[in-house]
Subunit: 210 residues, 2 copies
Amino acid sequence: MRKQKVSSAVIRRLPRYYRHLTDLHLAGVERLSSSALGMSLGMTASQIRQDLSCFGEFGQQGYGYNVDKLRGEISEILGMGKGHTAVVLGAGNLGRALMENFHFDRSGFELCAAFDVDPALVGRQVSGVPVYHVDGLEKFLEEHPVSIGVLTVPRGVANHIASRLVAAGVKGIWNFTNIELMVDSAGVIIEDVHFADSLLALSYMISEEQ
Amino acid sequence: MRKQKVSSAVIRRLPRYYRHLTDLHLAGVERLSSSALGMSLGMTASQIRQDLSCFGEFGQQGYGYNVDKLRGEISEILGMGKGHTAVVLGAGNLGRALMENFHFDRSGFELCAAFDVDPALVGRQVSGVPVYHVDGLEKFLEEHPVSIGVLTVPRGVANHIASRLVAAGVKGIWNFTNIELMVDSAGVIIEDVHFADSLLALSYMISEEQ
DNA sequence: TAGATTGTTAATCGATTAACAATC
DNA sequence: TAGATTGTTAATCGATTAACAATC
């Protein structure tokens, strides 16, 4: 139904709009104009209207946007209502931190299970989510198709586990390992969260000025 | 010494070059051409040469680039040799995961201390780094000026702690809280790591196709 | 030398901003 | 109605790619 491919720049801004609209909604705000939103987010009203126009007409001349309605539309666009599911690969520090602190459900994902090799972890539950041995990964995914794998395994096994996820039919991998995955990602989306890259960019920026 | 402001797009690519050059160096590769690098990273040779030319002339006609030398130059550009320092704010799951798994030193940062309010954590060490009570933050920063604060505190106190960091003179904040910080950031750089935004972008991309 | 590859200038492409008719 | 604000078209700006002289 989409007119044409929406640029990555637009997609990356949508979650920010969503976040701000959620805050406004919780604060009881009912309507807002593109210029008010632009003011809050430090961007032009033009850009916001241009971005939204990729997906439809959500506003009303002379009025602006209904906060809750627009929030719902963006949630829909982002696929938050699709019943996506996730499994965590690697229940080490980072994996557990995500399981215990990150609210997958707030992004529309149900976290189904975690996998690890550590006997001390396998069989336990973390935040109500069972941790299985990674040997059972394929069997589990066959019985419970999941949308994405959250990759928090050590570097050395990252590509191996990623390949297994792809082979088992996940649609995406949320990659927290600091390497470039080399999977034959025919249609599988890789979303990288490269901490080190982020810190180095910050390093550049604090070094530059002075 | 820089010709003019370097675009954010360029800066965000430098860590990726650095990472790849490190891998090549460890693999014993001595030289490479912009086209070979472009091939590996899935980008044009033009872009790589254009990017590097923002900072100087690091190659040699007919030869290409010396891997280790270029790696060193990029490290320098990114400020990895500046002796930057960091403190962690909030030694909860995520804070500890970073302290235990993330190699700050590999990005040129020395991790000096962590701060928390939990009596069970204060006084302990995590990966050899002492955890202090956040009440002593200002005193500590006065005695040990640090470059950045790593913000892994709960949402509710994020802005308060961020303001204290800014007041105490940090140059940057590496923000892991899922909110837009509202600090009077006169010259203080905020680098956001928004997990939820990243996951929502992934959600969009896996929802889109099919 | 001849082949290869750089750094840089020019051309293209895409993204952002401005302007405005449509209309609530 | 008059004022406000949208969605969209046109103009501008910036980033990417292509081309090529310089030269190792």
